[in-house]
Symmetry: C2
Subunit: 349 residues, 2 copies
DNA sequence: TTGTACGCGTTATCAT
DNA sequence: ATGATAACGCGTACAA
């Protein structure tokens, strides 16, 4: 009873002395078929261990039921959470999720979009890499009438939907929270300003300062990367200044962590002397020596909503260029690193 | 210049007044073709923005260049790291990685294997769910002559390759390390013993005790899940005992974290009174109040090696049932939570 | 070196 | 209700 070769609808049509077309109809709930033969087909199909070849189906229909997701790195908590959201929303609809990593390199991004297109995926989800400037490779996707949905890191291009968080709001509320804690000299660790998300967080930061009548000081805005060391050395730099800051709002959690480590090394008290707020709400933030405040980007929800946008898009195919921009509100998680309430605020010497 | 419909080899054969076969040959570096026409085809193909339809190719060849990965949850650091390893090793060879989540439920696992098989993937990588007992759905994969490679959580079945870590060794060395710190009353938080990995860690623990002449006490082996609360309540239970332990070796980091939190609440000093070692080396362990010792499972490497095993398997197709078992050695990362000796030494990432 | 013809497994159109 | 046939896009024996 070994089935070495796949059984096709022809095998079963032969066995039943009917045509392959009828078999196909039976398998696809086609109304134009008698219940008798339908049941017969279904039964023997099961008996013969028949499996639909979705490849052939796909070639015929032009739909693969596969989508591609392009992210910088899949093992970054934020991205894997978004992917989880996408997968969980899409798999009940029969879609499979293919993952690609750009390693923050446009070159990879380009080839991945191309090979993804070649495999005839039904849609692409993508967070652009830091090095993506030119967008011609993305524009090309539009011509293939393949839906591409940006999440988190997007480019503002006509014809593309996106799901992002309100990074301006995130930066604004984090900064305002620090002001409410009594901080007035607030430093911002900014990320790569080529990415809108970091630009917006920075804008939000500045807007909050402005609203509260605080000066925007150039030397208080420092470009860092997402490494711990980067945050630490930024602190070293800052502590050379005459006028030392009393708060850090970092656009990333790792830089914030590095800052905290370096501040401790310098015996600076947190949050008494300096408050710190990060961004991303990485899992480690709540388990730190001093649980760190951070802005949560609700990645799971972001993934689910991106998937929903995709589903809408493929359903209502008539409207070719649907363009939907969803903006989620981030959530500020206040923890000990920026919570002075309940702690005695020391008199400044 | 809008190309609404995909251009095929027929379109380009028409334009050049040659046969589609010749075009195909040109595109595939077939030796039986003149350099002239080959270059001509390549040039016009590029000009017409031709893209291979890998779907048709796949249907023809029986190879999709897709592999499936089935894990409980994709946003768990360990799994996303393994997947990263698989992706990075396989993508240079033209493979795409499809991800599936079992949510620790065999039912999902079964349907995922089936749909994956229907889409004609070239291979499956999988870590079984906690609830997987019966393995008939896995056995079926063998008949389809589709390679399936286990990683981390495996079932010992003939015909299947696997890449795992030596969990026995992990449990053994962690326990021995605790003994070397002077601990004699060592508790083990065990995971679900349905999974070999947890059984082996437990066996390693017991072997270390035995080797050093320490008794194996039933009340010192506690079954926990991978939640923080589970570790905390285990401590509460243990602290009811007359004879309180002086060390915890947990088969998971989250339970270990819960234990540490509860111990602190009870003013138990770590590592002076109780040493703690976890398992998995989750990112948060090194950023904790007290950086936690843990056993690293080298997930990235595990993924890469699993991918290599797969590649070998599809290359040397002649040998049908190759069965390769790779066992990696885990790495004990000693940090403050179990380091009574050089306490001042800061832990390296 | 190039062209012809067929098949991969399905589904859809047209007859019957 | 069912059957024959074409077509999806490609690769490849076989023939020329």
């Amino acid at each position: 009873m070994n089935e070495k070769d796949k059984v096709t609808i022809y095998d079963i049509s032969e066995k039943l002395n009917i045509s392959a077309a009828t078999v196909s109809r039976a398998l696809n709930d086609n109304p134009k078929i008698s219940i008798k033969t339908k049941e017969l087909v279904l039964k023997t199909a099961a008996a013969m261990n028949y499996k639909q070849n979705r490849l052939a189906q796909a070639l015929k229909s032009g739909k693969t039921n596969n989508v591609g997701v392009i992210v910088p790195y899949i093992d970054r908590n934020f991205f894997s959470s978004v992917i989880r959201g996408i997968e969980e929303e899409l798999s009940p609809h029969g879609y499979h999720v293919i993952i690609c990593q750009s390693h923050e390199d446009v070159t990879n991004e380009i080839t991945q979009i191309n090979t993804l297109l070649n495999t005839q995926i039904d849609g692409i989800f993508m967070s652009i890499s830091k090095t993506t400037q030119d967008t011609s490779h993305i524009q090309k996707v539009l011509q293939e009438k393949t839906p591409l949905i940006f999440f988190d890191r997007k480019k503002d291009l006509p014809g593309f939907s996106s799901v992002t968080i309100d990074d301006f709001n995130g930066g604004f509320s984090a900064t305002e929270h620090l002001i409410n804690q009594g901080c007035t000299k607030i430093v911002h660790f900014s990320g790569d300003l080529n990415l809108d998300i970091y630009k917006n967080r920075c804008d939000g930061y500045m807007a909050a300062l402005k609203k509260h009548g605080l000066p925007i000081r150039k030397e208080y805005i420092i470009q860092v990367n997402s490494k711990i060391e980067s945050g630490a050395s930024a602190i070293s730099e800052l502590w050379e200044l005459e006028d030392k800051p009393d708060a850090i709002f970092s656009a990333g959690d790792y830089a914030a962590l590095g800052a905290i480590q370096e501040l401790k090394r310098r015996k600076v008290r947190i949050p008494e002397d300096v408050c710190v707020v990060g961004f991303s709400n990485e899992p480690f933030t709540k388990y730190m020596e001093l649980p760190m405040s951070s802005v949560d980007q609700t990645p799971l929800e972001m993934g689910k909503i991106a998937a929903q946008v995709f589903l809408e898009q493929v359903k209502g195919k008539q409207t070719l260029t649907i363009e939907k921009k969803v903006v989620l509100t981030p959530e500020l998680c206040i923890r000990d690193s920026s919570n002075r309430i309940g702690k005695a605020i020391p008199t400044v010497a």
